[in-house]
């Protein structure tokens, strides 16, 4: 182990020339697992794979190998991207292309391995093969790069995801990792690094799109003895999981990006601010930091360059608003995570009053790539205003969900129709929401908009941090808006009144719209209507007067839904009808007498005893008692329950 470490440091990391000598390259092939003498089994092991049961697959693969006395290496890798295919397994036989399989649960792994070892592969679960130079092809197996899910993507940042063991620093170095970092601290000045990143046109990937190089320069030009770099990995939007997947699959590149960024701003201490509840990502990044320290990549006087750096991990204690820069700093200082008025911006007055740069995970992941390939190379990707790529976490009603990376300029239509393979269950597309809990809706008419900061803004859509929720016709927009408003109401920190009170009032009114009409002739109808008239005013005030982004953007889903789906709101308010049949309070059920067999299943389960009847005779529902829960609808085997 010690020999390997010395070899990697002296022959790879400290090498001056850009290309490695052939003999070094040869020995690295084994480390990179391009060449192997024994079969290799790669089992994905991110949070999403674990939920799908990858750990069980791992252990049954292990028992199988032990029982059948086969020598093979099992490697836990990160997620490749498509969550529908989890737990995914890849097998590489010596001298042959790597094969990818999908949905390999514990009972499937034994027949699969048996088949591969005996050259007879099961085509049902097969995804494809990964073509590698100088390896034998599997006949009749498609290439994985030709699958639409991968073919329309441009995987630069996600390039390593699912390809190497995230807990092995050796493998990362063998894949060319940490070389640009060592080159940077030995040959460049702080300003030069800032210049390179500024020239590359890299912009903040958390949604705002502020030029990263410029941000670094602001911190660097503020006179101070201490500066801080914070990696904002607090991603707690409901339905967003890019950062966690990246950290689990490729923690070393994040460390390298952070290290280069820290050097560029002359900081000697960096912090990863990680979302709570992501234990797996925490252990992975902590291991990566420990092994980087062991290799002398972090610490004192790194490789005699005179540069010191240490990275620590801090777990966010569970408050959505802490994703905001100033709130994040407050929480790191041991105070309540409440935002503060800007300016002063953190780049001049941040953590403990020192200049602080806060960057998103995805932004920092781009940095080593820019340093390695140069700013011109980076600029050749994407659009003029927004170079590079963007990662989205496609979720919701799409047929394929998962983490995808597209070149800037790709249209949203391509992401939905080609990469995500359209809408599942043959339903109709309704809208896509980009940017988490405060994102706007993009309907069919605007789907041709390319992924680009400015062009998206022109159509009232924000880039967001990576949330990409596909919505189909079975979703009620009013209910969805209420869901987001409830989330924001719960997460509002309570410091400024427009946000604290505004979210509460908006939620009340929205709940009034979807509540069961109690007694229509009393004043409640009028009250409800008055509220509806005021919704837009409240939204406008919140947008103007809230202190931080949370409150300012909180009404976005409502404003956007009202603009695009006004008829749905009107139906709810005037006709008291929900076209998607989602809103509990507005739906009533009745029993089709011709279909009902009188099995009593529904009557037994009704929580409010609203179903009456005699056994083996058609039953009936008392409308006044019915709360619209839909349990009877789900339970009826004869589809005798009809929604009105």
């Amino acid at each position: 182990m010690e020999d390997l470490k010395n070899f990697l440091i002296s022959r790879v990391l400290l090498l001056e020339s850009d290309t490695l000598p052939q003999e070094t390259e040869k020995s690295l092939q084994y480390l990179r697992r391009d060449k192997t003498d024994v079969p290799l089994i790669f089992i994905s092991s991110g949070t999403s794979s674990m939920i799908a049961g990858s750990e069980k697959t791992y252990f049954s693969a292990k028992t199988y190998l032990e029982e059948s006395d086969i020598t093979a290496d099992i490697i836990r890798v990160g997620c490749t991207g498509p969550f529908n295919y989890e737990p995914s397994v890849a097998v590489q036989m010596p001298g042959k292309n790597r094969l990818f399989f999908r949905n390999i649960t514990e009972e499937k792994i034994e027949p699969l391995l048996n088949g591969v070892f005996h050259n007879d592969i099961n085509k049902d679960d097969l995804l494809g093969q990964h073509g590698m130079k100088g390896f034998e092809m599997w006949p009749g197996v498609p290439f994985i790069g030709d699958l639409p899910f991968f073919a329309f993507q441009k995987r630069i940042v996600l390039g390593n995801c699912g390809c190497y063991d995230p807990e092995s620093i050796e493998e990362y170095i063998a894949r060319g990792g940490y070389r640009s970092y060592v080159k940077t601290i030995r040959h460049y000045t702080y300003e030069e690094v800032c210049d390179i990143v500024e020239k590359s046109g890299l912009r903040g990937r958390s949604g705002g799109g502020y030029p990263t190089g410029l941000k670094w320069k602001q911190a660097l030009n503020t006179a101070s003895g201490t500066r801080y770099l914070i990696c904002n990995a607090k991603e707690s939007d409901p339905g967003s999981f890019c950062n966690i997947t990246i950290i689990e699959s490729d923690p070393h590149r994040l460390i390298e990006g952070m290290a280069i960024a820290s050097y560029a701003i002359g900081s000697s201490s960096a912090i990863v601010y990680l979302r709570s509840g992501s234990d797996y990502a925490h252990s992975r990044i902590q291991k990566a930091i420990d092994s980087a320290r062991e290799y002398g990549l972090l610490g004192h006087n790194i490789y005699s360059s005179g540069y010191n750096l240490d990275i620590s991990v801090r777990i966010e204690p569970g408050a959505f608003v802490c994703g905001e820069e100033t709130a994040l700093i407050n929480s790191l200082e041991g105070k309540r995570g409440m935002p503060q008025l800007k300016p002063p911006y953190p780049t001049t007055y941040g953590l403990s009053g020192k200049p602080t740069v806060i960057n998103n995970v995805e932004t920092l992941m781009n940095v080593p790539i820019i340093m390695q390939n140069g700013p011109e190379w980076f600029r050749s990707h994407g659009t003029d205003n927004s170079p590079g790529t963007k990662i989205f976490a496609v979720a919701g009603k799409a047929r394929l969900t998962g983490v995808v990376e597209v070149e800037m300029g790709t249209s949203l239509k391509t992401i939905i129709d080609d990469i995500a393979d359209g809408i599942k269950d043959g339903k109709e597309f309704k809208a896509v929401q980009i940017g988490g809990a405060s994102g706007t809706y993009i309907t069919h008419d605007n789907l041709d908009v390319p992924v680009d900061y400015e062009l998206m803004k022109e159509r009232d859509a924000g880039m967001g941090a990576g949330g990409f929720i596909v919505i189909d016709e079975s979703t009620c927009m009013v209910d969805l808006v209420r869901f987001y408003m409830e989330f924001i109401r719960n997460e509002s920190c309570g410091k400024c009144i427009p946000c604290r009170e505004g979210t509460g009032r908006m939620l009340e009114i929205l709940e009034g719209i979807i509540r069961k009409p109690a007694n229509e002739d009393s004043g409640t109808t009028l009250e409800r209507f008055k509220g509806v008239m005021q919704l837009e005013t409240i939204a406008a005030v919140m947008k103007d007067a809230s202190l931080c982004g949370l409150g300012q953007t909180a009404p976005n889903p409502f404003i956007s839904a009202l603009k695009n789906f006004r008829e749905e709101f009107e139906e709810h308010i005037f006709d008291r009808k929900c076209r998607a049949n989602v809103c509990r309070g507005l739906r009533t059920f009745s029993i089709d007498v011709d279909k009902c067999t009188g099995c009593t299943a529904c009557a037994a389960r009704c929580p409010v005893n609203a179903i009456y009847g005699t056994r083996l005779q058609p039953f009936f529902i008392v409308e006044d008692k019915c709360i619209g829960c839909g349990i009877c609808f789900d339970i009826c085997k004869f589809s005798a329950i009809v929604v009105k």
């Binding site: 939920i51 969550f83 529908n84 409901p238 999981f241 997947t245 105070k335 929720i469 929580p607 349990i631």
Partner: protein, 156 residues
């Protein structure tokens, strides 16, 4: 006698305000929740008033002030799970267990927690029971599931 809490506090020797949150997090990790005793001790150590610490701890969702129940149910209410019907699943769990979100039942059997995304978005709604994941949960499966869990208590 030196308790677990004292041991944790000892590790944070500098006693700076910045250490407050990691210190509380570690106490919660070792003892499962923040007791009154723990908050008083932390206050003495950091020279902060108890109300300040309590005020901070209640601000964040992570900190709990009661011991966890024997069965810890987490329901994902992220957008994907919401679209797949997690609200109905959650309502059924509340009805069956009698625990409200973020609370533990009086008998200490169930703790119910609602989280915003667990990362199993294609498998929603996701429910985790003592860190074992159940995917694509249907609301009608809940009564059976809870009955089985209750059965474990009765035969314990």
């Amino acid at each position: 006698m030196e308790t677990d809490i004292d041991k944790v506090i000892k590790k944070y020797r500098q006693g700076r305000r910045e250490e407050l949150i990691p210190l509380l997090q570690e106490i919660q990790e070792t003892s499962g929740f923040l007791s009154e005793d723990a908050i008083v001790k932390v206050g003495k150590h950091l020279g902060l008033s108890t109300t300040k610490i309590y005020g901070l701890a209640t601000f964040y969702d992570q900190f709990k002030f009661f011991p966890k129940g024997r069965i810890h149910i987490k329901v994902c209410n992220g957008t994907s799970c919401f679209l797949e019907g997690s609200q109905a699943v959650l309502n059924n769990i509340i009805d069956e267990t009698g625990a409200s979100p973020g609370q533990t039942t009086r008998n200490g059997n169930f703790t119910l927690e609602v989280v915003s995304c667990m990362g199993g978005c294609n498998n929603g709604p996701v429910v985790s029971v003592n860190n074992e994941f159940f995917t694509k949960v249907k609301p009608e499966q809940i009564p059976e599931m809870i009955r089985k869990l209750k059965y474990i208590f009765e035969n314990d």
